[in-house]
Amino acid sequence: MALLEIKDLTHFFGGLRAVYNLNLTLQGGELMGLIGPNGAGKTTVFNMVSGFYRPSEGQIRFLDRDIGGLRPHQVTALGIARTFQSIRLWNSLSVFENICVSQHHQLGYGFLQSVLRTPKFVRSERRVKKRAEEIMDLLGLRQFALEFPKNLPYGLQRRVEIGRALSLRPRLLLLDEPAAGMNPGEVGRLIETIRWIRDEFKLTIWLIEHHMRVVMNVCENMLVLDFGETIAEGRPDEIRQDPRVIKAYLGEEEPVHARGI
């Protein structure tokens, strides 16, 4: 059974075709990349997989379940976590609270139990806090537990965001430009972190990235989009050579009639 199966996924914004006939199967355990020039529809694909957009056509199956049209929190509860292009941490909650609150669907209690502090509430709170502590230890965030995210350097905020996504115990992690805005040192650490996370948490990672150093170093396979269409799929070294990819990124060679002007 495949982890994620995307069939003929298409999305229109009004008359604009943002994504067209995207096909992808992830068996589980891969490090998949999704690249393409600006406006190619990469984030739209992620938004469909994570439930923000309903696909116009096509199917998204996660663990043999059709998830097209589910609401984002339902998709997340099934085991797909994601991060965002821009950091979206909750700034009035501490790092520790951020990683606790993200486990909301695993709480298993509601309003009444949280007011009455029933034994179930106490057990659940203990479990959630223990999980958050584990995550913080694994990602080296323990010393920042009581800091507010906005007071942390950029690279650490990214790390908190990844930690928050990991606390959900996902099977599939979607990373939307994890290296955006990072300095070279931070990028190097990020590459190691991503690999290590995949092995440590035994999950599948699918990432969007512009930073070629990250993509070429991290991804085992990748999908290239241009104007919503898949123009190439394969290993990094194949992609690097692919004429269509080069064309999409660098533009076409000068047409013959334009020479000599």
Binding site: R71, H73, W90, Q103, S114, K129, L146
Partner: protein, 341 residues
């Protein structure tokens, strides 16, 4: 022991207050001001859930208060007193002493239902639009009550005094005061428990970033419903108490003015600060009483107070903090079960 120290000290304080009222140390006017302060605490703390913790802008709190006030009053008058509208009492008047909390909660439940009716259509809207919807609800509630003649219409509704009298006949204690104290304690306790649980912190997450909240598995629609219903339900309970403290209610008591008072208290105390709401409700009540000799000019003085506050302390008295953040020593006594971190 430590876990209950705040409960014990609050209970002792209330018991002293009731005793003082019973022995006549506190005169009727002081008692009234204390009860007003209590009702205002419930109003501001409950509005703080939506306007402070959730970061929405609801301006129709008095509408929910009116629903609670009318439902609780009508139930009480119908069940326990001989009134010209509903005829003889359906239950023995002495049973009011046990059933008063039930009718009070029924009023709160009715207000919570009204809150649900507002929350559902307002999912898609935030900010200004929610403000307009809640403002409209306030007017709808007020106009509806004005036009229901059997319950007095614009003339108002009375008879709650008899309910209190029948309670005092069974056991001579200042019952309204006792119920105000219990309700205030319960309100603050419920909100405190909620916002300090991981579940309740979902409301704050919703305020900070709704998209992130949704993707991090928080059912944002349900959180909004819970927050909105709790807020309006507690306002309904405040309304029920208000009706029984005054003994008379009319739709004119639940206008946009009353909603504004609640808003002023929330913003004066600090958005998202429970202790701020409590402190500002007390200060606001006392200030209104202090300015009473000014008569109409009172409504000039109070807004001035607010303008100065906004100039010199934009975030309100407490900002986002709680009392325990300013006086960490208090935490030893009043913040049980600190989260490990």
């Amino acid at each position: 022991m430590r876990n209950y120290s705040s409960v014990i000290s609050y209970t002792t304080l209330c018991a002293l207050g009731v005793l003082a009222a019973k022995l006549g140390i506190l005169n009727a006017y002081v008692q009234l001001v204390v009860m007003y302060a209590g009702i205002n605490i419930i109003l501001s703390a409950s509005l703080n859930i939506v306007n402070g913790y959730m970061g929405e802008f609801s301006v129709g709190h008095a509408g929910f208060m009116a629903v609670g006030a009318y439902v609780a009053s009508i139930l009480n008058v119908m069940l326990f007193t001989d009134s010209s509208i509903f005829g003889p009492p359906l239950l023995p008047p002495s049973s009011a002493i046990f059933l008063f909390p039930v009718t009070l909660i029924a009023g709160g439940a009715a207000a919570a239902l009204a809150g649900l009716l507002v929350a559902v259509p307002s999912f898609k809207t935030r900010g200004d639009y929610l403000a307009i919807i809640t403002l409209a609800v306030n007017y709808i509630v007020k106009s509806s009550i004005e036009n229901i003649q059997p319950i007095g219409g614009a003339r108002g509704f009375m008879g709650m005094r008899n309910v209190i009298d029948s309670m005092e006949k069974v056991l001579n204690l200042p019952w309204t005061m006792i119920w105000v104290f219990i309700s205030v304690g319960a309100t603050v306790w419920i909100i405190h428990q909620l916002v300090n649980s991981t579940y309740g912190k979902g409301i704050v997450a919703l305020r900070d970033d709704e998209i992130a909240a949704e993707i991090m598995s928080i059912n944002t629609q349900r959180m909004k419903i819970v927050a909105f219903m709790l807020s309006s339900g507690l306002a309904g309970i405040a309304g029920g108490l208000f009706a029984h403290v005054l003994g008379y209610i009319n739709p004119g008591s639940f206008t946009i003015m009353k909603s504004t008072e609640a808003l002023v208290m929330v913003y004066m105390g600090g958005m998202g600060s429970l202790s701020g709401s409590v402190i500002s409700a007390i200060i606001f009540t006392l200030a209104l009483e202090a300015f009473r000799p000014l008569q109409v000019i009172k409504w000039v003085a109070v807004p001035f107070l607010l303008i100065f506050l906004m100039i010199f302390r934009t975030e309100g008295i407490m900002g986002h903090r709680e009392l325990t953040d300013i006086f960490p020593n208090l935490r030893r006594w009043f913040a049980p079960r600190e989260g490990r971190a």
